[in-house]
Point group: C2
């Protein structure tokens, strides 16, 4: 089935042949008032579990919007488990980081606090909304999970034995990212790939010791340029995914 609409929405409901579902108030507002869709117009839905579905608007009133499902467009793909663990940065830059990480296919976003982090809290609901919007925009069939803020030490201590952490080390002490990836196996660990990025100003000495000494961590150097946190996260994820896509 050809996709008929550029309006894509993430919903929580189960998606199945012949199903009909009621959009949330916010989604109904977006569909009716922002995108100006009405009865009979096409709309695409996904929920992170049942693939992508072609729907059509059956009812659109001031009180809400009902979508009927016509058929499946794509089945739910198996996703590589890739996390970004990023030192919290200021609001606009964190929003950006979440958007880019979503486009680049991460399954989980972990905001971490470090000694040089100047932001200590994150609005998980707002970041989840940003991730959802980014997923709707970029054609993904899932929304990454945004975790509560964690302290770096506790986060590192909590990692599964099967995890593989790639630490974006801005000190110049780690080998070039491509050299590191060239000798890593894409498949010989059971847990998630985790890309770890520091705050503006970098990790401090004690944190560097903690990270560098962790059994699951491999340092990577992203080049001679000093990158902002959200740039480093975006670039590292892009390099990682290009490597994964390679033969």
């Amino acid at each position: 089935m050809v996709r008929k609409s550029s309006v894509r929405l993430f919903v929580n409901e189960t998606l199945a042949e012949g199903a009909s579902l009621e959009l949330t108030r916010d989604a109904a507002h977006y569909v009716s008032n922002v995108m100006r869709l009405g009865v009979g117009d096409p709309i695409v839905l996904f929920n992170g579990r049942d693939g992508e579905w072609q729907g059509t608007i059956r009812r659109a009133t001031r009180k809400g919007c009902t979508v009927g499902l016509l058929g499946s467009l794509r089945s739910q793909p198996v996703e590589l488990d890739v996390w970004i663990a990023a030192a919290l940065v200021k609001r606009a830059r964190m929003d950006f980081l979440v958007e880019k990480a979503t486009e680049l296919g991460v399954t989980r976003i972990v905001p971490v606090t470090t000694r040089r982090t100047v932001v200590s809290r994150a609005n998980v609901n707002r970041l989840t909304l940003r991730a959802t919007e980014a997923a709707e925009q970029c054609g993904r069939l899932s929304v990454p999970e945004v975790m509560e803020v964690q302290e770096l030490e506790l986060f590192l201590a909590s990692l599964d034995a099967g995890s593989q952490v790639l630490w974006c080390d801005e000190s110049g002490d780690s080998p070039a990212v491509n050299a590191v990836l060239a000798r890593l196996s894409k498949t010989d660990h059971s847990g998630p790939w985790i890309l770890l990025t520091g705050p503006e100003g970098g990790f401090d000495q004690s944190e560097r010791k903690l990270i560098g000494g962790h059994a699951k961590v491999t340092g990577i150097d992203l080049g001679r340029h000093v990158l902002r946190s959200e740039t480093a996260a975006t670039v590292a994820l892009g390099i990682f995914q290009a490597w994964m896509a390679g033969s």
Copy 2:
């Protein structure tokens, strides 16, 4: 000499031992009123030609600010000639693209218009200011040149014979970026490296034909994710620079 200050400014004046210079009105305002620096405080200057210099504030009044130069911190590096030619996107995303491209070391930014470009004009002064701020922030010793908006066809027609264009092709028809880079020489052409990214919605068929048929263009695939224009530019530049930095 150890760098004493995190305030870095791009200036137009020649920088040399013992020189003294007057900051522009905007720069003086930033230094005095925003960063709250006063007489005797350190400041770092660069101009894209004479390297990086440690300065100190000699005079700060309501009318202006004078900086005396103490000594050279770094000499001007030779930069790889890398351009980003990017289809214009909306203001906030174009600002972002310019910031990230600057962090990632481009020497020139060319905004191009295409059939699906919804924005037709760019404020070159504003984009240059964004590039300057990004260069000041990220430790670069130069500011990329932001060009006037050009039509895609004219831009392609104007390229030097020595240019090498890497076209971020989102259609899936081009080989994976890492496979392409693996067989490219880093040194066998005389002109600039140019990364070309399309608008939201992509290049249209006739543009794809034009680009794909150009002798200097090589298509690259950035992976299975659908990336926004500014994400594609950031990721492509990150991958390119990591490849360049490799042995």
